[in-house]
Subunit: 344 residues, 2 copies
């Protein structure tokens, strides 16, 4: 019930019920200090009312409500206009992802149309004559194409990007022609395989002949060394990832997904975890250790889940992140803290 | 190049190039121990070959390849069949979510069709005569409907569920008739608002009259006390969440989403964070504190981001989780560890 708090202060406890204020009906007025209105959650407070008392704290009988609690502060259970947020204040910053809370906020302030960044058109190109389709039964010298499915799913799950896909044979002329055509259509192309040093690795050469300017080729890391990246003017960004499944996925998780995020101005803070056991890696390369990130007593722990090398994609589901171990050391001790890149 | 390792062991360093083994072509045979084959990444190792040396470690000239490194172990750069995983072993457990790595694994083993759990049909029902649509300009006694958009987005983002929505007025007969009809159509109904003690809160009564058996009504917590849950046989699960935006969202994040996950057998381990500063909450209720979970030096930190009460949905985007503080205490100290429920 809504009452005049002044009456309560002067000792009044029993109020005649003059009516009901339902949620969604126009504002009413408290007739006088001796009477009350039953007022529902969501209703506008009646004019003249300065406290609302819950049914749980009343005895209702024969058209009267009696307050059975001792303390009723002024303005009890009244939500003042402007008490959540002030007019003109900023509640969602530009660049913030439109998650569930932001969509609720947009709804409540009446923003039924919102300008958001467009999701780019992305093409994933697999390459390699050893690849056959998933439903084929491979010969001993063949394997089923899997990277394209992994990368497509990762873009969909992590970024909401529905990428198109294409397979190219190990044929220099076909590769060049198709790339020329697809560079006109797709601002972002992710190539899988065909970028290392083999005789039939035509990708880097083809891209450079099509005026895609190389920014780097090869990273001092394991896995994922033969990673090529280039752009053509403002229009094209081209990532050529290595073909080994673990290398390919690691480069996507470590570089490509963060790049997409930074384009959305959605750069989260780098996450760090504590290594759970000693680990060593001798070559002078940044090592991306497969780990399972878990949370124990408020600590973020990275437990190594080493697989059987960069072809062992089955191991990716035993782990959930890559822990970045720096190149300038070869021993990494339990209890040390390193950055990680989580993919689930 | 692929060579007979035995020849290397006996001191041979220069090999005549007898041909090229491309990825995807049938297995060849090393003609003899004096010759080699150029073999590409992804190609099947030629019969008779027992080590593969990278271009980087060779000098190629006039049809000959000369090895310029000192150590070439037997089987170098040869990936043995069965070395990643053994035939008959299990690589993805039943109940595991089909994320990007699992989809890659399914592809590589030729599982183009996979039996997965169905995504259930979900209906979200908003309720309350004070609610108008997002594009309406509300009167002083009205507010725009927002919960339905928040909850719909949270189900979509967190679980991939595309829920349908419906609005019901505060009319007992309409509510009962519509619920009767929708219970036949939807195995899962999530109601927003109308479940507390007000005169026009018809939801619990209507559900019970339709043989939806109540399992509980009200939880000793803040926010989110008036939460009703019931089932009808095996067919219907009905969640009636409170109408206050923060309460509504908190109940979804704390109870409804974990319930959906448990239906998928996708119950992750409970996560814990360290409270960053002292906090007190006196009533004997479990308190769900809005916090920002962040990661500092391998520690998971929960920084309180208290808003202005359960109507202040704008605060949900300042925080990213609810920290669960137990009911039997009223002081919670910096450095103590509590479970949390993260929503972004």
């Amino acid at each position: 019930i809504a009452i005049d708090h002044e009456a309560f202060s002067q000792g009044q406890r029993k109020f005649r019920v003059a009516g009901v204020a339902a949620a969604g009906s126009a504002q009413q007025e408290l007739p006088n200090a001796q009477e009350c209105l039953e007022v529902m959650t969501g209703a506008i407070t009646p004019r003249g009312a300065s406290a609302v008392i819950r049914y749980e704290d009343l005895q209702m009988s024969k058209g009267y409500a009696e307050i059975i609690i001792d303390a009723v502060p002024d303005q009890l259970n009244i939500h003042q206009q402007g008490s959540d947020r002030k007019e003109g204040g900023s509640i969602v910053k530009a660049g913030q992802m439109m998650g569930a809370p932001e969509i609720g906020i947009a709804a409540t302030v009446g923003r039924s149309d919102i300008m958001v960044k467009d999701i780019p058109q992305v093409l994933i190109i697999s390459n390699g004559d050893e690849l056959v389709s998933v439903s084929d039964h491979p010969q001993p010298h063949q394997i089923r194409s899997s990277n394209v499915h992994t990368i497509k799913a990762a873009l969909k799950n992590g970024l909401g990007i529905v990428a198109e896909t294409l397979h190219l044979p190990d044929d220099e002329q076909v590769i060049k022609n198709k790339l020329a055509e697809k560079l006109e259509e797709f601002p972002i192309i992710i190539l899988l395989g065909g970028s290392s040093k083999g005789k039939f690795d035509f990708i880097p050469k083809a891209l450079e002949s099509l005026q895609v300017q190389r920014h780097f080729y090869k990273i001092a890391q394991r896995p994922g060394k033969p990673f090529w990246f280039g752009t053509r003017g403002d229009r094209n960004h081209v990532f050529a990832l290595p073909g080994n499944p673990v290398s390919c996925f690691m480069c996507l998780v470590r570089y490509v997904i963060p790049w997409f995020r930074s384009c959305r101005e959605d750069v989260g803070r780098q996450q760090f975890a504590t290594l759970s056991e000693d680990f060593s890696f001798v070559p002078e390369l940044t090592y991306y250790l497969q780990v399972e990130i878990s949370n124990q007593d408020g600590k973020t722990l990275a437990v190594p889940r080493t697989g059987h090398g960069s072809g062992d994609l089955a191991n990716l589901c035993a782990a959930n992140a890559f822990l970045e171990l720096p190149a300038d050391r070869d021993k990494f001790l339990a209890g040390e803290v390193f950055p990680y890149f989580k993919y689930r």
